[in-house]
Symmetry: C2
Subunit: 155 residues, 2 copies
């Protein structure tokens, strides 16, 4: 299939310099749009939304560690072996993160966020406002292992 | 900034052939993983989640229509002029859609979904399980114009 190419729209600034797991709420993060491509107009009205979905490239992923099949999440054999598309792990075929963050401030080309699990310097691919009608519809459920994995993810 | 390149992991099959707005719940959709790259193992355990987040390339976007600044959503002057990153419109710098869909069935390399707003043939970039801990945290709000825009989006 034909390769897809994208130009980053900006970059992440974060107090997290290395791609370690967990405790992301301890970090401060912002996004700066590329001034060569954008003016502050591109963010006009975004602060009228509570949250924004950030698409970012996980540029510190080691290509030799990418999983294309199934594995135990985080190598933990207490959890079942599951497919890479049943996990949100970074070592995936196309290492794009998508995270819904709370908007703190928008000033010029800089967007200050809460809850961004991206390391410093990550290229940003897209920003989309969080819209209630795009939330999962109907009953939601998830397996026990992922709830356990997420226990220390944020705090 | 350096271009980012991704190889699609599969393709969308949908009864929607053209990128028209609204009424997406009238369509049937599935995703087929690329058999040259993946085995059914890559989807192992995904059906233990109720929903999956689909990242897809909106390949029918006309590059000459891409908005990099601000505009009235859908050209409707009754709605305020807002920045492209305060909209989820397809005519955006990097035309990637992210939609949370209900999982109906997973058989071999084929995933049957409900609520996928991607046209037939769209390249799929990634699949991630919907995880409750990644939902927006804290109070959510959005402007009136987007709630109006979404009224006929699904049904």
């Amino acid at each position: 299939m034909a390769t897809l190419s994208y130009t980053p729209i900006g970059r992440v600034h974060s107090t997290r310099k290395n791609p370690t797991d967990d405790f992301w709420d301890h970090e401060n993060a912002s996004i700066e749009l590329d001034p060569a491509q954008f003016s502050p107009e591109a963010l006009l009205g975004l602060v009228d939304f509570s949250h924004v979905e950030v698409l970012f490239h996980m540029n510190q992923v080691d290509p030799s560690k990418v999983e294309k099949s199934a594995r135990h999440p985080r190598g933990n054999i207490d959890w079942p072996k599951v497919g890479i598309f049943a996990q949100r792990a970074k070592n995936r075929p196309n290492p794009i993160g998508t995270t819904v963050c709370r908007i703190i401030e928008c000033a010029g080309l800089t967007l200050t966020l809460e809850g961004l699990d991206a390391v410093d310097g990550s290229p940003v691919i897209d920003l989309k406002p969080w819209v209630a009608e795009f939330a999962p519809r109907g009953k939601t459920f998830q397996p026990k292992w992922i709830s356990e994995l997420m226990e220390k993810y944020w705090k």
